[in-house]
């Protein structure tokens, strides 16, 4: 209950209409065997060969312990992962357990966290009993993932987190498949256009820098 679906709903709300698809929620209310959401997004990119549509599917995974197989299935094709953590101190243990589960699921799929770009979002910043910003800043220095602070229910930090995810995925795919060379899409231009599609009024580099910690920053400029 860290706010995965709320994040997706907020992302759907905030994204420009021509870039977002219909939010799909898969829920079987009888036995709750499955539960996840999917939001298709389309980003336009200018390449030397003309305009190109880049299609992104954003999935949430079911949080419940019993849905390991659904989580694995969703993870098997993931190009990047956003880990949504609950900022409440009382949820520290659940966050850790979920993170370990993510790590184990990736391992079971023959992947590792090293291959899959990951961002961490500390959601529910609006609640009481949460870790302070200073604590999060301090903790973020100890990890390699970019960390975002959010209140998805108010739409805060959602675009920033998603942009970090998109940027991580794009740069990883670019490294692996040499997209810049093959598709002639200039990464900065793509990211600038993506920021517009996400309804961000400012400059994309501000969006790109809206995180704390993380080694991603050092390696991408």
């Amino acid at each position: 209950m860290s706010g995965k679906t709320t994040n997706l709903k907020a992302l759907h709300e905030l994204t420009r209409q021509d870039s977002r698809g219909r939010l799909m929620t898969l829920e079987t209310k009888d036995d709750r065997t499955l539960f996840f959401d999917m939001l298709p997004l389309v980003f336009k990119a200018d390449s030397k060969d003309g305009a190109m549509n880049l299609r992104v599917k954003v999935f949430t995974v079911p949080g419940q312990v019993v849905h390991a197989s659904t989580r694995k299935l969703v993870l098997q094709g993931a190009d990047a992962v956003a880990f949504i953590a609950d900022s409440q101190i009382s949820e520290t243990e659940n966050n850790a357990a979920s993170f370990l589960d993510l790590r184990e699921n990736l391992k079971a799929l023959g992947r590792s966290m090293r291959d899959v770009p990951c961002i961490i979002q500390f959601n529910k910043r609006d609640l009481t009993g949460v870790r302070t910003d200073l604590e999060i800043d301090d903790l973020a220095l100890r990890g390699k993932e970019p960390v975002y602070k959010a209140s998805a229910v108010h739409g805060r930090g959602v675009i920033e987190s998603f942009f970090g995810l998109l940027e991580g995925a794009w740069r990883k795919l670019d490294t692996v498949h040499d997209l810049t060379e093959k598709l002639h899409i200039e990464p900065d231009a793509f990211l600038a256009k993506a920021a517009e599609s996400l309804g961000y009024p400012g400059r994309w580099r501000e969006l790109s820098d809206a995180h704390v910690g993380g080694q991603l920053k050092a390696g991408r400029r």
Binding site: G21, R22, M24, L26, T28, T33, L34, M38, P40, V42, N53, R55, K57, F59, H67, S69, T70, K72, L73, V74, Q76, G77, A78, F83, A85, T92, E93, N95, A96, A97, F99, L100, L102, R103, E104, A108, L109, G110, S112, M113, R114, C118, I120, I136, L139, A140, R142, G143, K144, E145, V147, G213
Partner: protein, 486 residues
């Protein structure tokens, strides 16, 4: 993809859907028929592959008339074919005019930002149409344009706003059907996968359980043999020696003279010493072979240390050594075998008391500490998710410090070797089997912890035991340590 079956369809993949796969044709036909009934306009639905999925239209009177002349019939065929293939452009909808002056409305069907098919509405008469287009007369000279115009006049007129709305309504309805059908498809795929994956996991677990069972049976058999031998062949006669020497010493078999009594008491003491050695060896061999089962359960260090304190206070008092416990009472859940940990600290504290002279001090200091970032247990993932895991990564550190004779720095790493004695001379002052610390080390190792020796300025020794919290152990060995009950 190792754990997944290779032929599993990946529902997260971005394969375009085929309209013919997800839409029920009969239901589609019904929908188009009701649209036709409402607006009297023909409706055709094509998939992106050009497959005609629904065709609800009656030939208009004017069309039938025009089709009677060969030239016009050919032109009609071309128009229909063009309507089927014309690009609806960026906006996804376009009007395609027929040579008669009638028109078709072409609206593309989209799903997840992709064109998956098209709706062709028409032919219909735009409300601006007064008479047949000049092109009609040119298709065939034999065509009677006046009659064609009369028939054209009877086709109901539809305004541009209305035709756009009809097209949009049909498009939205169909896209909703496509979305729902796709959703049902994903759900069924996901269910299928879940069941298949659960079955595969169960099979794997069964195989692992069977292997473990076979191994445990074998180990159990070996252990039973070993224990039987040790218990019977060594302990039974030894128990007799201890028992009879004790009876002799107590004068049950008659009074003994001074020197006789002293010898018998020596036999008894050495017998007890040998029994402890055998028991220690038993423990050590069990720990080394991995057959000593640790009953790891959620536990806390405080009650263990308090118990050690109460057990050894009389011993310390007798030796006039001060024994103190300094536990800041911060709770840190361990996944540990409390009984084995008690054995560890009894051994360490007992040793400390033994090597501390009268008037000295032995202290147990327990603190909860953060585990350093590099855990070293997991090749690639050491710094993954540290922000999430660090708050959970705690360890309990217990320092057993004495003010005794101390251990020289060069000897400190060797004290955990079996049978090692710092003073190995035959005239050594302090007794002991040399097994206690090696047992301590193995028990601590089995808990994922560490033990080391430090000097205690100005004299004495500190044994530092570090035990990872249950959470930290789960981070390192998630499959081996059960989660704490909630």
């Amino acid at each position: 993809m190792s754990a997944m079956e290779e032929n599993d369809e990946d529902v997260t993949a971005d394969a375009p859907i085929a309209l013919e796969d997800v839409v029920d044709r009969e239901a589609l036909d019904d929908l188009c028929r009701s649209m036709y009934g409402l607006f009297d306009i023909g409706v055709r639905v094509y998939s992106s592959q050009g497959v005609l999925l629904a065709n609800v239209a009656h030939e208009l009177d004017v069309c039938r008339f025009v089709n009677e002349t060969p030239g016009s019939r050919a032109a009609c065929g071309q128009t229909v074919s063009a309507a089927k293939n014309v690009d609806p452009g960026e906006s996804g909808e376009v009007q395609h005019t027929c040579f008669t002056g009638l028109a078709y409305r072409i609206v593309s069907l989209e799903h997840e930002g992709r064109r998956v098919g098209r709706i062709v509405l028409g032919p219909y008469a735009p409300d601006t149409l007064k008479e047949a287009a000049p092109a009609l007369a040119q298709t065939d000279k034999r065509l009677d344009v006046v009659q064609a115009n009369e028939r054209l006049a009877r086709v109901p007129r539809i305004g541009p706003v209305q035709i756009v709305r009809i097209g949009q309504h049909l498009k939205e309805t169909l896209e909703l059907i496509i979305f729902s059908s796709h959703k049902a498809w994903v759900t069924s795929k996901m269910h299928l996968y879940s069941v298949r994956e659960s079955y595969r996991e169960l099979q794997e677990k069964t195989v692992r359980l069977e292997q473990t069972l076979a191994r445990l049976k074998e180990v159990d058999r070996l252990k039973s043999n070993f224990l039987a031998t040790m218990s019977h062949e060594l302990r039974t006669p030894l128990t007799s020696i201890i028992g009879y020497s004790e009876m002799l010493a107590e004068g049950i078999a008659g009074p003994l003279q001074g020197e006789q009594e002293e010898y018998v008491r020596t036999i008894h003491t050495k017998g007890e010493q040998l029994l402890r050695l055998i028991m220690g060896l038993l423990d050590l061999s069990k720990l080394e072979s991995g057959t000593m089962s640790l009953r790891q359960a959620p536990s806390s260090i405080s009650p263990i240390l308090k118990e050690v304190m109460s057990t050894l206070t009389p011993v310390a008092r007798k030796k006039e050594v001060e024994l103190v416990l300094d536990d800041d009472a911060e709770v840190c859940e361990l996944a540990a075998d409390a009984e084995r940990l008690r054995q560890v600290f009894i051994n360490l504290v007992d040793n400390a008391v033994k090597f501390t002279p009268k008037g000295g001090r032995v202290s147990m200091i327990a603190r909860v500490k953060d585990v350093p970032a590099a855990r070293g247990d997991d090749d690639d993932d050491d710094d993954d998710g540290m922000i999430i895991l660090v708050p959970m990564m705690k360890a309990v550190e217990v320092r057993v410090a004495d003010t005794g004779i101390g251990i020289p720095a060069s000897e400190r790493t060797k004290v955990f070797d079996a049978f090692y004695q710092v003073d190995s001379s035959s005239t050594r002052e302090y007794g002991g089997t040399g097994l206690g610390l090696s047992i301590v080390k193995r028990i601590i190792d089995a808990h994922g912890g560490t033990v080391r020796v430090e000097g205690n300025d100005p004299n004495g020794t500190v044994f530092v035991v570090t035990l990872p919290s249950a959470q930290t152990r789960r981070a390192a060995l998630p499959s081996r340590v059960p989660p704490a009950p909630t």
